[in-house]
C-alpha cells in the first residue's frame, strides 16, 4: 500500500496530489496572514508585529511580549477582534463545507446549505424568539430558537421525502422548497405583527459578526470540527453517491444511512452557522463551485479546500465591511452583492464554453 501505482497516470496523479498540497498550504498561509492583518485593522490600527506579540503573550502566559505595547491593544485584540474574526472564518468554512456535502447528496452543483430550508427554519425560529422578546435563556435564546427552527425544518423535510423511493434527491429538494415556502410566509406574518420589533428581526436576518464572543467561537468551532470529521470520513462514499444511489449501493455504500448521517451533520453545522451569524448567502454555493473548478470533484480534496477557501472569503468580506468600508454593511447583504454577480460570471462562462 505504501508504494505509488506504477501506472501511466501515476505521474499525473502525483502532480494532482502535489497540486492539492500546494493549494492547501497556500490557503492556510493566506488565511493565517489575513488573521493577523485583519486583527490589526479597524478604528484603532495595530501593527501586525504587535498583534503577533499579543497573541503569543496570551498563549505563553508570560508578560514579556506585552512590553512597549499600548495597554489598550491586548483588550482590543483578545476581547473584540479575535472572537469576531475567528467566528467569521469558522462560519465561512462551515458553510462552504456544508455546500459541498449538500451538493454531493442532492446530486446538484447548484445546491447550497439552505436548499433544504435550513435557513428559513432558523430565520423563523429567530424571528419568533425576537418577537416574543424571549430572554429566558439570556443572550443565547435567539441562536437557540434559530437552531431549533432549523432542526425542526430538517426533520420535516426528511419526513416528507422518506416515502416511496427513499431519500432521493428530487424528493429532498421538492420537500425543502415546500417547507421553505411555508416558513417564509410564516416569517412575513411575524414581521407583519412585529410592530417596532420588525427592525430587529430584519437586522438579524441580514447577518452580522458584530459583538461575537469567545463563547460563539467555541460553539461554532466545536460543531464545525465535528462536522468536518464526519464529512471527511464519508467523503469517499459521497464520491460514489455522485454516480447515483443504485450504483453507489452496488459499490458497497449503504446509501440511506450515509445520506441520513451526512444530511444531519451538514444541517447541524449550517444551523449553528446561521444561529450564530444570521443568514449569509452565496458562500456555501460559490466556494464549492470554484474549488471544484480548481481541484476537481473528488470530495476528499473538496471538503478541506472548501473549508479553507470559505473561511478566507467570509473573513475577507467581514474585514471589508468592518474596517474598510465607511459604513458597516450587513455581511449577508455584502456576500450576496459580491457573490451574486461573480457567480453569474462563473456560471455564464461555464455554460457558454468549456465546461470546467
Amino acid at each position: 500500500m505504501d508504494r505509488d501505482p506504477p501506472m501511466g497516470s501515476s505521474g499525473l496523479g502525483r502532480r494532482l496530489r502535489d497540486a492539492t498540497a500546494l493549494q492547501v498550504s497556500t490557503l492556510v498561509v493566506t488565511l493565517l496572514g489575513l488573521f493577523v492583518v485583519s486583527t490589526g485593522m479597524g478604528y484603532i490600527q495595530i501593527p501586525p508585529a504587535a498583534v503577533l506579540k499579543i497573541i503569543w503573550g496570551e498563549i505563553s502566559g508570560s508578560p514579556a511580549p506585552f512590553a512597549g505595547i499600548n495597554e489598550i491593544f491586548p483588550v482590543v485584540v483578545m476581547d473584540v477582534r479575535l472572537p469576531r474574526i475567528l467566528t467569521a472564518a469558522l462560519v465561512g468554512g462551515g458553510l462552504a463545507m456544508c455546500g459541498v456535502v449538500f451538493q454531493g447528496i442532492l446530486l446538484n452543483p447548484l445546491a447550497d446549505p439552505y436548499t433544504l430550508g435550513v435557513s428559513a427554519g432558523a430565520a423563523f425560529g429567530a424571528a419568533l424568539a425576537i418577537l416574543m422578546n424571549m430572554a429566558a435563556l439570556g443572550l443565547f435564546s435567539v441562536p437557540l430558537f434559530a437552531f431549533l427552527g432549523a432542526a425542526a425544518t430538517l426533520g420535516a423535510v426528511i419526513y416528507l421525502s422518506a416515502g416511496s423511493g427513499g431519500l432521493s434527491s428530487n424528493n429532498l429538494i421538492l420537500s425543502g422548497i415546500i417547507v421553505a415556502a411555508i416558513l417564509s410566509a410564516g416569517i412575513s406574518f411575524l414581521k407583519y405583527v412585529a410592530d417596532e420589533q420588525v427592525a430587529v428581526i430584519i437586522f438579524w436576518l441580514m447577518g452580522s459578526f458584530a459583538s461575537k464572543t469567545w463563547g460563539d467561537v467555541g460553539l461554532t468551532g466545536a460543531c464545525v470540527a465535528a462536522g468536518a470529521s464526519v464529512f471527511w470520513y464519508f467523503a469517499r462514499e459521497l464520491n460514489l453517491m455522485s454516480l447515483g444511489n443504485q450504483m453507489a449501493s452496488s459499490l458497497g455504500v449503504d446509501t440511506r444511512r450515509v445520506t441520513l448521517i451526512l444530511l444531519a451533520a451538514a444541517s447541524v453545522v449550517a444551523a449553528v452557522c446561521v444561529s450564530v451569524a444570521g443568514i449569509i448567502g452565496f458562500v456555501g454555493l460559490l466556494v464549492p463551485h470554484i474549488m471544484r473548478l480548481l481541484s476537481g470533484p473528488d470530495n476528499r480534496r473538496l471538503v478541506p479546500l472548501s473549508f479553507l477557501a470559505g473561511a478566507l472569503l467570509l473573513l475577507g468580506a467581514d474585514t471589508l465591511t468592518r474596517a474598510v468600508l465607511p459604513v458597516e454593511i450587513p455581511i449577508g447583504v455584502l456576500t450576496a452583492l459580491i457573490g451574486g454577480p461573480f457567480f453569474c460570471y462563473v456560471f455564464r462562462r461555464q455554460s457558454a464554453g468549456r465546461a470546467w
Binding site: 449501493s249 452496488s250 458497497g252
Partner: protein, 257 residues
Amino acid sequence: MSFELQEVRFSFNGKKVVDGVSIALAPGKFYGVIGPNGCGKTTMVDLLCRFRSPQHGRILYGGKTLGLYSKRHLAREIALVPQNFYINFPFRVRDVVMMGRYPYIPRFGRPSARDADLVAAVMESTDVAGMSERLVTELSGGERQRVVFARALAQDTPMLILDEATSNLDIGHAMQLLDLAARRVSRESGTVLAVFQDINQAAAYCDHLIFMSRGRIAAHGDTREVLTPAAIREVFAVDARVYHDDFSHALHVVYRR
C-alpha cells in the same frame, strides 16, 4: 457462487412488479433476461444486487440470505452496469473506473499497484484508455456507458449484472463488451446475468434464457430449447420465426409485422 431465488415478490404501491419468481443461477453460465417493457426486469436486477429487498420470499447467494452480507462484501461479489447513468460532477474517466476498486481499498488508503494495473488493463480492453483524462460529463451517452462498463469490470467480481448495458452502444462496441463478459464466464467461471432488448443479441451470447412477463418467469431454460416462436408469441405477442443461422452460429429471430 450461486444465486437462488425462492418465491420472490416485490410490489410498488400495491402493484405487483415481481410476482413469485423462483430460479437458481449457477456459476459459469451466461444468463439472458428478456421480456416486454414493465415486466419487472429492472426490479429483478435491483433485488439481485440488493438495491431493494424482497417483500416476500428469499434470495440466497452462496446458500446465505443476500441481506445478511455486508454491503462492502457484496460489492466484491456482484457488480452492476445500470440501464441509465447520469453524472453531474466532472470526474475524470480514470477516476470513475477506479471507483470500481473502492470496495478493495481501505477508507483512507491509496490504490495499490494491483488496483492500478487492473484499472489500466480494464480500460485497455474496453477501449476507454484513450479518453482516460477526459471528463465524464463531456462524454456521449455511448462513451459514458463504456466507462461504466469498465468500472464494473474493474470491480472484478464473480457475478456481473448487466441491465441493458449495451443499449446505447454501436454494434462494434456492444460486441466487444459482451465478449469481455462472456470471457469472464468461460475462463473464470463467473456468472453473467444480462437484461436484453435485442433477442438476437441475447441468443448470440446467452447459454440460458429467462422470459419474463408480468412479473413472472414465463419460461426459462437452455437457449436452444426455450427460444421458440411460441415463447416469443406468448411474451411479446409478435409472430416470429426462429432458425439456426450458419453465419453467426446462433439462433436467429425474424419478425412479421
